[in-house]
């Protein structure tokens, strides 16, 4: 297990270097003027461009630019936004809010998604099963931002059950509605995945053995079938973290939440290239780490998996 973890960590190094390079290249090296629109409608003065080129090392060839950026990154320096504020400060300020939002979303996903999947599988072909199948299909088809607006309009404005926008404190109560929106897509996938796995496992030999051993139905399902069906679901929830972060941009934009996604949304709108690179880099690193964590935890959930 220890050796496996170390090997996976080492394997991650080239991926991290590759992804940060890719992100960097996509923002700075693609044709297009990084300062377009920074000085209002007229083109920027030459002195401003020269200063900015100097500050962001844009005169150097790409590998050197990237090398300088990486050295800074290793020292925890994510660069400065065009307005001169350290990007890291902005990220550190926004992160706790997004973390709370994502946590609530994952809890919703686990409770409702897995619950709906189990109910559907136990009523295969019945009313509940069809209800889960159809409602998840609809949720999958509607883009997150449409769900967000519908939820904001219905529950925030019309019914007034939840505040339509989130204040600077971002209390748990305020975050429930956005978390539901954020969780909706993954929730649908989790429910479908759980349903599929459980249906398959309920027909498995070990379930028949457990039943013929005289165990109660509750115990057969709870201890044997459900536990085994959870394994792919847990992997999915981990691997889907990226989609959750991507969705957070939209959700936080709609509900005016000052988290990582909201920061990114704002940086895009104001064309803050440096902030965009910094935030996306952090998000991708978190995504990679979570995936690694899930892979390692795999062995803990499923004793059949041994790492050698």
């Amino acid at each position: 297990m220890g050796r496996y973890t170390i090997r996976r960590l080492l394997q991650m190094i080239p991926v991290i270097i590759g992804t940060t390079f890719l992100i960097y290249a996509m923002v700075w090296a693609l044709p297009g003027d990084p300062f377009a629109g920074k000085c209002g409608d007229k083109p920027c003065p030459a002195t401003y461009i020269a200063e900015m080129n100097e500050k962001f090392n844009l005169q150097d060839p790409l590998p050197i630019q990237y090398g300088k950026y990486l050295v800074n990154l290793l020292q925890g320096n994510f660069g400065e936004s065009f307005s001169g504020r350290p990007v890291w400060d902005e990220i550190a300020q926004a992160f706790p809010v997004t973390f709370r939002l994502a946590l609530i979303a994952i809890v919703i996903e686990i409770i409702i998604g897995i619950g709906a999947g189990i109910l559907a599988a136990l009523n295969r072909g019945g009313f509940l099963d069809n209800l889960v199948l159809i409602s998840t299909l609809i949720v999958i088809s509607i883009p997150v931002f449409v769900i967000g607006f519908l939820a904001q309009f219905t529950f925030g404005i019309k019914l007034g059950w939840f505040p339509p926008t989130v204040g600077p404190d971002a209390t748990v109560y305020e975050l429930i509605l956005p978390a539901f929106v954020l969780a909706s897509l993954s929730l649908a996938y989790v429910a479908r995945l759980m349903r599929g796995n459980l249906t398959e496992n309920l027909r498995a030999d070990y379930v028949r053995t457990a039943t013929s051993k005289g165990l109660s139905r509750r115990r057969v399902i709870g201890r044997h079938a459900v536990r085994n069906s959870l394994i792919p679901v847990v992997t999915f929830i981990g691997a889907d973290f990226g989609a959750l972060l991507g969705g957070a941009i939209v959700t936080e934009g709609i509900f005016n939440i000052r988290g990582i996604g909201g920061l990114l949304y704002l940086s895009i709108r104001t064309r803050e290239g440096a902030t965009v690179v910094g935030v996306v880099t952090v998000l991708v690193l978190v995504f990679l780490l979570v995936n690694l964590l899930v892979d390692i935890l795999y062995g803990a959930i499923d004793p059949r998996i041994r790492y050698e």
């Binding site: 890719l22 923002v27 931002f145 449409v146 607006f149 941009i249 939209v250 895009i268």
Partner: protein, 322 residues
Amino acid sequence: MSDPNASMAAAAPETVEKETYLGSELPPAPGKDRSRSLWSDAWRELRSSKIFIISAVLIVFFLIMTFFPQLMTFGKSPTTCDLTLSRQAPSSEAWFGYDNNGCDVYTRTIYGAKASILVGVFATLFTMFLGGFIGVIAGFFGGWVDSILSRVTDIFFAIPLLLGGILVLTSFPSGEDTNLYTEVAKVVLALGILGWTSMTRIMRSSVIQVRNADFVQAARALGAKNSRIIKQHVVPNSLAPLIVLATISLGGYIGAEATLSFLGLGLQPPVISWGTMINDAQPYIRVAPFMLFFPALFLSIAVLSFIMLGDAVREALDPKLR
């Protein structure tokens, strides 16, 4: 899985395109062919599937909107607007109401299909060919070629699609002269740069399953070259999962385009798309929710029909589910 006959294999690329976005125009099954191929089998299966028929009808509907929008708008133009009608609610005059500039929302929704469908189709074709090609090479040759290509795929895979699309589009701000096709190409590129990895992974694994099959070894023993083996035997027999994924992705790309446009990054006005319409409607959600509702409805139905088509194709192509 039977080895498809040569004519079927040669026709494979066309089959791919048609099955991907023209669900209703699959090649007809050869009538009295005794040894039916996987594809003609799948086509028979599809024709009897209710989900397939519903989604195919919807998709044909969207294709008409894409290519002949004037057929459905009763001669109205999406750019004829009257400011005095600004934000008027739906009526018998204008079924979906008027937007902020007094343009007819119904007409614009119909015309908006074009950009969305084009982005979906081209992003799918782009990722399918690029991703499929890399997947075949990695899976067929294995060894160090596979190692290198798989690591490169890992790197691209680590960046979530939406985040990557945002990055590419932030560095490609739209200029003054926005015309539909350059805008569409831009968004297709942004989605394609990161979208191909899932296609590569699925193609690679299905090629690896076929690579050592008896018929491939037989072809090799007969002296066939690698290029011939790949074209005639490996690709036709490992294509099914890719096609399923491509169909489902098409819906996903349409949704992603709308999301990017909604963020103000994807397609830009004056190009009309569902995403830009929703973006325009956003500030008026409290006073004129219909402005947002109708394009969102069309968008969701379009995504839904491609996901349903993908489900139907998967059921038809996966022998395990029969």
